[in-house]
Point group: D2
Chain length 471, copies 4
């Protein structure tokens, strides 16, 4: 089994070991825990006792928290297998009291109508598993909330194929969803005057357009940029999600311009457009608990307040699934995928290669972008297919198949413009054939667009994209 611990957790074991040891120090009977990395059967027996003591609140609640600290330290020192056994123990042996559950179900079944709400409430209480109480107790530890977030990230991997661990993971998700309700989050603007230990995390977590060191980061925090993130009061150094914004004139269609360290900063007061060019979820352990929607709307509010001349809010986004989708389509040989003229244009270039594989073959060598004639020939069919991919391809539930498209369409944006050769990095070619797309957030239409997409799967597109679709 592979090591699944998330790096941030690995990194801080040493630091936490000390501070949690201090907390644990005040709890009696906890000093002797020195488990084997994989947890022996004896260790498991001892662990069971410790967990029970935690739950019994022996020595009072403060002691229980100290005991939790001792357990947490042990957890951090275990191997992946040890952790799996640790979590499995919690999942299997600290569930709800079956007898009480059965009784409460019976009571609910027999409850008269006017007492049903109360009977439901009681059943729900009885179903609250002790393992959840155990997990809750970590939150008072230094960085205890981050510990639980990272634990859920691990659990998501470990739980595959194990119903008990999946239940535990669902418990933890519920707990984190309550704690990370968007009402508890703080929107913070990050600047070059922000703490280095927070900025460092941006470098670490940026996954859309990698940040190459501190100079690159500083450039993204220049006077014509804004960077906002959501933070939780108990994880003040950890962005949950963050968005990078460029203040420009006209809608950007080229990511390289935005990332160019040597480009002089623009005048933000003169900007008419805010381009959201990178949005990153930073915490794998919060998967499925969404705040992206709120982030974009809050940032639009902030920017509107600060810059009176901003008129347009749009993204410059990748199409991460476009090329894989295209290759699959090319593989299945869907008739009519390319139009006749496109076929003919490509045929001239591909010099007698079998028509079927020709587009695939052409794209296989990333050097195509260096051949301006070839690139120009590819422009029309790829742009048209990209428009189709974004706007027309669906999966279950009328969702757009592109995850980024689905995110912005759900938020009420519309597909505004496709940009040719907008990201010619290796990643940009591999995912998006070099294309990028602007999603437009038009404030007055957001609700209507959202309703149309969420209710009927209707995707709103600009005239330009419509024209593209028609070829």
């Amino acid at each position: 089994m592979t090591q699944v611990m998330v790096p941030s957790l690995l990194e801080r074991i040493k630091g936490l070991a000390k501070s949690w040891l201090d907390v644990a120090g005040s709890a009696k009977g906890c000093e002797a825990l020195n488990f084997a990395p994989d947890l022996s059967d004896d260790d498991l027996a001892c662990l069971r006792g410790q967990m029970q003591a935690c739950l019994d609140g022996k020595g009072g609640e403060v002691s229980a928290r100290a005991r939790a600290a001792a357990l947490g330290r042990e957890y951090l020192s275990l191997s992946t297998e040890g952790r799996r056994r640790f979590l499995k123990l919690a999942a299997d042996e600290f569930g709800p009291d079956s007898h009480a559950v059965d009784q409460a179900m019976e009571a609910l079944r027999q409850a008269p109508a006017d007492k049903r709400a109360l009977a439901e409430q009681r059943l729900r209480q009885v179903l609250e598993p002790p393992r959840l109480t155990l997990l809750t107790q970590f939150n008072a530890l230094p960085e205890g909330v981050k510990f639980l977030v990272d634990m859920r990230a691990e659990l998501a991997v470990l739980a595959k194929g194990d119903a008990g661990l999946r239940a535990l993971e669902a418990d933890l998700k519920g707990l984190l969803a309550a704690w990370f309700d968007v009402g508890f989050l703080e929107l913070r603007r990050l600047t070059w005057a922000s703490p280095a230990n927070v900025l460092e995390k941006l470098i670490h977590y940026e996954a859309v357009h990698a940040i190459h060191g501190w100079d690159d980061l500083k450039n993204r925090l220049d006077s014509d940029r804004r960077l906002y993130g959501f933070f939780h009061p108990r994880m003040p150094d950890e962005p949950l999600i963050f968005v990078e914004v460029a203040l420009v004139q006209g809608m950007s269609g080229d990511i390289h311009q935005l990332l160019d360290l040597n480009a002089p900063p623009g005048n933000p007061e003169a900007a008419d457009t805010a381009i959201f060019y990178s949005i990153n979820n930073a915490q794998r352990g919060l998967n499925g608990i969404s705040f992206g929607n709120f982030l974009i709307k809050r940032v639009v509010e902030e920017l509107t307040r600060e810059f009176k001349s901003l008129k347009t809010f749009a993204t410059l986004s990748p199409l991460p699934g476009f090329r894989p989708w295209l290759e699959a389509k090319l593989g299945t040989g869907e008739p009519g995928l390319l139009t006749g003229p496109e076929h003919r244009a490509l045929a001239q270039i591909s010099n007698g290669l079998a028509a079927k594989g020709s587009l695939k073959t052409l794209l296989a060598d990333p050097a195509w972008i260096d051949d301006s004639h070839l690139a120009e020939t590819l422009r029309a069919p790829l742009s048209r297919l990209a428009a189709r991919y974004l706007a027309e391809e669906r999966k279950a539930g009328d969702r757009a198949i592109d995850p980024v498209a689905h995110f912005h369409l759900s938020n009420g944006a519309r597909i505004e413009r496709l940009n040719w050769l907008a990201d010619t990095s290796a990643k940009g070619l591999a995912q998006s054939c070099g294309l990028m797309v602007n999603y437009l957030y038009k404030l007055d239409d957001i609700e209507t667009n959202h309703e149309a997409y969420a209710g009927r799967g209707k995707v709103v597109i600009s005239q330009g994209v419509k024209a593209l679709l028609k070829g």
Copy 2:
């Protein structure tokens, strides 16, 4: 029906009305809510639609929050009857889906052992009532968390005799318990340099020894005093619980000295004893969610760090139920309540009044404390009976009948000393016959004491109190 709205809520209606209106402004279809104070049937129908729209997330989550703001504003403008109907609607019509609950119960009943945890988890999810989601949406509003806390305080009154509202109240308690977990609270020291709007709350919430204006407050924040409270990040101006501490030499036995505005401040560096002379829960809406235990221990830690010479940590506490208990005992004429010598001593004073009622009669006139001979005669029997009341009287579950005693004994304190004429205010005489008690927090014994009391109902008392009990 009496008006149950808590004052703090009343006070801020005006302010919130405006800011919530701003939030609500962005939600479509919410403008027209102008309910009658008692909620007409038409209003209820409209309200039902609004609640449903909130839950459906029409227009996206941001709009749903805006809709919640509009509902919250309406709630604030209602009469008590209107609020009762508002809450009743939520309680009765936004419970879990009965059909889904029945299915999930059936699935649980049939789940194989290794799938039971997951089936339980799912049942628990299905039981989560939509009304809870509705309540959660208030938390993003300005002061929304305080709104929910106050709503629970109202609900506690309104729910009497109504199973549906009791279920709603239990839901809300669960939600608040998750949010106000002690791990999320901040311990803050309040000083004369703290914000006036927070200090003002101390005056408002102090219920043990009333604070008579700003001079009295300033005196309690002098250099030989400390005042600590727990705060929640989303209610930064509202103490949840707070404790007032005097740094003195020797264990205080007279509350008047501590509260005397004209007494010169002592030298805190020279103090050997910290007296916790007032502990107040400030939020009725958080009843049953306890942090007092944590507060005392955290404050002991802070004080230990700041003042190296502190050796003793003790309270100076009232016996709020002593006189009512005593009068009840006197009423039932329990034989042997007073010893023979006590009887005789009182008889001499009471001049032929019927022995049975004499103590009661003597106490009925609060002027007894001004008659030093009489007071001296009362000292022995009242002290002895107070010791018995604290240390020996029990209710169900081996709990001390005095609520303050139960609180400190649960925390691991011991009953250290009874102080005669320690609080001769009208309230002090009416509740405690002028007596006060020191509970001692001896750090090394706290766990053992807690265990003894929590497990076996054993109350730990000093030699002095033991002697008193023997008479």
Copy 3:
């Protein structure tokens, strides 16, 4: 000789004594200072030695500061006479080196043109008195800057008739002027959420319209009010100057409305006018170092930013010298002080009293405001005379004789409107015969108005005031 120590200093002696003792503790040879309150001759000799040691920097600069702390403590414990002697010693014996001064003057006299600047610079350095270095060393002590500010306030009184002390006072003024340059000050808005220990100072320092306790203060910090002050980073709890602003509709002409605790707060968003109704210099020790000009302009900026609908910025100000001036005029019997019709109108009321003293006599009994007929008769002459007093009466240098008028006219305001019965408090009658005046700050005219007044003594007045002047 009367006690001149400012109260704030008296108050904090006890607190400082301790913290300065700690600082002093590290300096050798300082422990034994226990001077007599009036300073004996022996004490003076010892003090001389200590001052010299401070200046010599014996034991290094850190020790010198410690020694300064010891000296400061002694100073605080002295009587007024002791302090006078203390300061006199510093003034007389720690002046510049006469010999060096004479040499530097000689060098300057002989310096060639291109070296003159340097010779001047050197003379200036040589003239820097050691006593100034001594004073500077207090600034590192806790509250040391406030100590020096208060010392100057004392010195201003003590220095009367003593050239040496006046030189010391001038030194100190120069030092404070450098430190309190407006570039180092912070504009802070004070609200009900500001620290109580700062708000308390407002109550203490408000001298225009006394603040009657915390409820009155809270009213002045309500949502339709603003209160701004300048602060120095080393005196963070002490406002230097502060201004109280009401956000209203139309220009206020009645101070009682603004101060009424029972008036409901207005809607600040709807206000078109900001009324500066009280401006207070809080530190007597900073007399002659002005920041009022900056304060008003910075506050206008802040308000403009916050409230888009504000159009008018004006004061509602007393005429503190009006009645004394009027009585003097009446005393000298200036012919034509009253017009014929005014004479006749008053004569009818005063029922045959000698015309000469009649106005004076009428005003002598403050009950005149309760007699509406009498008040109405007084309105015309008093308003006209008030306009003359403000706009036409001058002292040396073309200054308006009213100090408040001079302040606002210097800032570029114009005299906009006189308000009859605008302040009928005892103080308002005694100073201003119940009148108040609006000074208008019209942003576009401020520079021109300032130039006209500062350069040519020209006072800008409104048409309405012009009409009044004509009678």
Copy 4:
């Protein structure tokens, strides 16, 4: 003439240009300043007028500050020659009023004894040059204080050989000395959680042991390190001076260990020694205004409070002038510079090279440190000579000739230990022949040591160093 502008100023011109333009915008008649980089004669005439207008306070003080902003912007846009002319104009034409100075000198000469202090005070006032008022007005601008600090750094270069500019430089020094009095400075600990824009400055300013990027910086902020700096409230992003401290066991004698990125962090709680391994003055414009003495003592206080187990406070310092001094000595051929045995030992190695130059020759090739036999042979003579250099060599006023030695000896430290091969970097070899020295700060002896050195030039050394000196 070379460009002398300090880089930090160059960097921020663009930013300031904008914000100062905003400030300047409100001043009338300032818009048209568009000087040639070198300042034409016409420009000078215009500049003269602007400076005069600033001083006259035309349009009020706020306008004067705006005018200062306009002047500051012009200054920033000038070439070095332009700046020289700008400053020269201020220096020459805005000095004190000669006539008034002559009068005040005359008045002083004739003043009776009891009026002399006042006459001196007045002369000092009259000598205060208007150019100083001009400079003061920059302080209210954004980053205006830093502007003046950097201006002084430039002025120090430009003033060489120009008495007028030297006077201006002295004025500016006096102004900055008043503002940067140590009582106004804040000691701040910098950590990895400090703002990146401040940390970046550390990389920029570190001149003793260069910081190679962000990883190196992070290492110096690890849990076993401390970094403290002094800051001024008006330059919050700019350290004035900072010190890097390592918490170790035993006195460090090898800088490479301390700077090793791969060394695991030590346990600070277990450390008995704090090593000050780098102290840097960051602002050239504050030359001659000292705070190093205070910094070390404040840091010792802070560390003592935080870590109870620290017993020893010492530096690990370079001997920056050792090798140049040694080469000069070798050049002059001082007899007895090397002892007989040292001569003989070196002669064996240097293989018949002329004895006179041999040590010099050996050191000339930095590869000597790679030859362990050679290095061992050099150890004794170099260590002995280094001890002599530090402890016995003096310049005027009994000062140690090594500047670092002079700094620490003035602070009351003693020379504790010489460390062989402690810094074998190119710089370490070039300056210190690879040696480093520990200066020991023994708190009880600091005052005595300081007195001995400051008063009599007596250097306190350890037994070990004494032994070295004897050879």
